[in-house]
């Protein structure tokens, strides 16, 4: 009798059920690219509350949607904008100005220090950059200390350990070997730091395909794979599609109506139409429509 390796493939509903109120979760990608949106939308549908979200080093409108939907208590990221769509993410701005969201204020290098400490099982990473800035004054977790060897001032950046990292990539085999197209941004750092990792992909490929090009493997041994074609929409997916500019503008307009004028109506309508009413990722894609989706070709 031949025993088969266990497939790690689950769907986005199973994946989101791993996320519980109050957890620390990390979400990969970079501003307008490579976010695991099928799972993010399912987290919102489940009504998860009180999350600490470790965003990408530069977070985008993916996190803004989670914040607007009321899932987030605390945010760890160095930047929250939407490139030229909006200089600052609207629901993020509104939540901070209304005192509804705690920010673990850090810069990009500090953010990676916190993840590196978690990955290495250390309480903190020493870091020189950020000396002279306001960060250690307003983030009580970041301490200034003197290097015991040279005596010069350094920052101690404490470990941040996500319970679960949720990452978007192009391909994976059923056994948790993942291949990004393009850079992979900071996704590897999230994977190394987190207790468990779920990876959402465009395509599941055979293990033999992975072995043809092991250099392309960016992560291995992840805990679950979710197949969701067009799953980064409305954001870009390197090698597959570009961002949906029209959709992003629609989102920004809805969110800005709340941030600027206090009217939540358009944002709620967005949430209902694109997140709450479609029951699955496939239902979401149907709302977006095949014409729009296939128009988002990369080249």
């Amino acid at each position: 009798m031949v025993l088969e390796r266990k497939s790690l493939v689950i769907d986005e509903r199973d994946a989101a059920s791993w996320i519980r109120d109050g957890m620390t979760i990390a979400i990969g990608g970079f501003i307008n690219s490579s976010h695991p949106m099928a799972i993010v939308r399912q987290i919102i549908r489940r009504g998860v509350k009180g999350l600490t979200v470790v965003g990408p080093a530069s977070g985008g409108l993916d996190l803004d949607l989670l914040i607007g939907a009321g899932c987030v208590r605390k945010l760890v990221t160095a930047y929250m904008g939407g490139e030229h769509y909006c200089p600052v993410a609207p629901m993020f701005r509104a939540a901070v100005e209304r005192g509804e969201l705690e920010v673990w204020e850090c810069d990009e290098g500090m953010y990676y220090c916190a993840l590196r400490a978690a990955a290495q099982g250390l309480p903190f990473t020493p870091w020189k950059a950020g000396i002279g800035t306001s960060f250690p004054e307003i983030n009580p977790d970041i301490k200034v200390f003197n290097d015991p060897i040279t005596g010069e001032p350094l920052l101690a950046i404490p470990a941040i350990k996500p319970d679960i990292a949720i990452i978007y990539a192009a391909h994976a085999d059923p056994y948790g070997n993942v291949q990004h197209i393009g850079t992979g941004f900071g996704d590897r750092a999230l994977w190394r730091a987190a207790d468990r990792t779920i990876v959402q992909v465009e395509r599941i490929i055979p293990n033999e395909e992975v072995r043809k090009n092991p250099l392309a493997t960016s992560l291995y041994g992840v805990d679950a794979i979710v197949r969701a074609p067009y799953g980064s929409h409305p954001f870009a997916a390197p090698g597959y599609y570009i961002e949906d500019a029209e959709h992003l503008r629609e989102y920004v307009a809805a969110a800005t109506t709340y941030a600027k004028y206090g009217d939540r109506g358009p944002f709620e309508a967005y949430l209902r139409k694109y997140v709450l009413e479609p029951e699955t990722h496939a239902d979401y894609l149907q709302v977006i429509g095949i014409k729009r989706l296939i128009a988002l070709h990369e080249y």
Binding site: V96, G130, I138, F185
Partner: protein, 268 residues
């Protein structure tokens, strides 16, 4: 004899002025909504600095993009690069002296070149929450040569003291930066009105040149602190015909550099 351009616009003058600061041995990276620096990097590479290495979006090393598109962090921008830089790795060797040049804009800039892109008002109860510092908080304390640019030269941008120090400039002036063991720092400030540098002793901002049609009085009136103003203030060196042609026809034919002026006025 180099032909000087007869007509050019402020965005073009800003790009050309910034481009001339880059050296052929520089490694320069760009961040979000950075059309002016990206255009300047490409212009420098096409003219006096062929060896300049551009790390597009802090991701694609030595990228060779098509003309500028509407986004300076788009994966299509780092086409045909020689290497993808995983972000967490960049922060592991940023001390090695590579990536020694960085361009920064911010919502507030003070007289010592400290920059704020985090909050306006008190941190705990901000009047305006800004997007955050991204990489400037680290870069400012890593001995880099910092070039500051802004398309909104107003007293709201140029303030006596920033509300939050997202990026360390010359701190409280004098030798306060040096005393913390930090080298280099802000070199030049390029705005829609003028070019400024920093007086070597006090480290206070000093007017260097004014753009065509702009007076010294106007610059001072639009700056929220007293500038050091030398007796002779020249006009900002004009672009050459070659620079303008490259910019308009090859590097940025769609005029993406002008988006910074739009997005700046759309801010808040």
């Amino acid at each position: 004899m180099v032909a000087i351009a007869r007509e050019y616009t402020i965005d073009e003058l800003m790009v050309v002025t910034l481009a001339r600061q880059f050296r052929s041995e520089d490694i320069v990276l760009n961040g979000t909504v950075s059309f002016i620096p990206v255009a300047a990097i490409l212009l420098a590479r096409a003219t006096h600095a062929p060896g300049l290495t551009w790390v597009a979006g802090a991701v694609g090393v030595d990228a060779q993009p098509e003309p500028l598109i509407g986004n300076t962090l788009d994966p299509t921008m780092w086409k045909r690069c020689v290497m993808y830089l995983p972000q967490e790795h960049m922060w592991s060797y940023v001390h090695r002296g590579v990536l020694e040049t960085f361009c920064i804009r911010g919502a507030q800039i003070d007289q010592y070149g400290n920059i704020n892109n985090t909050v306006i008002g008190d941190y705990a109860r901000p009047k305006v929450r800004l997007p955050g510092s991204a990489g400037m908080g680290d870069m400012g304390s890593l001995d880099k040569r910092i070039f500051i640019w802004t398309t909104t030269h107003t007293p709201r941008t140029f303030v006596e003291r920033v509300d939050f120090r997202s990026c360390a400039g010359y701190l409280d002036g004098g030798d306060s930066r040096e005393r913390l063991g930090l080298k280099n720092g802000p070199q030049l400030v390029i705005t829609n009105l003028c070019v400024m540098d920093f007086e070597p002793q006090s480290k206070r901002m000093r007017l260097k040149s004014v753009h065509p049609g702009v007076t010294v009085e106007e610059v001072q009136a639009q700056t929220g602190f007293p500038l050091i103003i030398p007796k002779e203030i020249p006009r900002t060196e004009p672009p050459t015909v070659e620079e303008i042609c490259l910019l308009r026809e090859v590097i940025d034919p769609h005029g993406m550099r002008r988006r910074e002026f739009r997005s700046a006025s759309g801010r808040e």
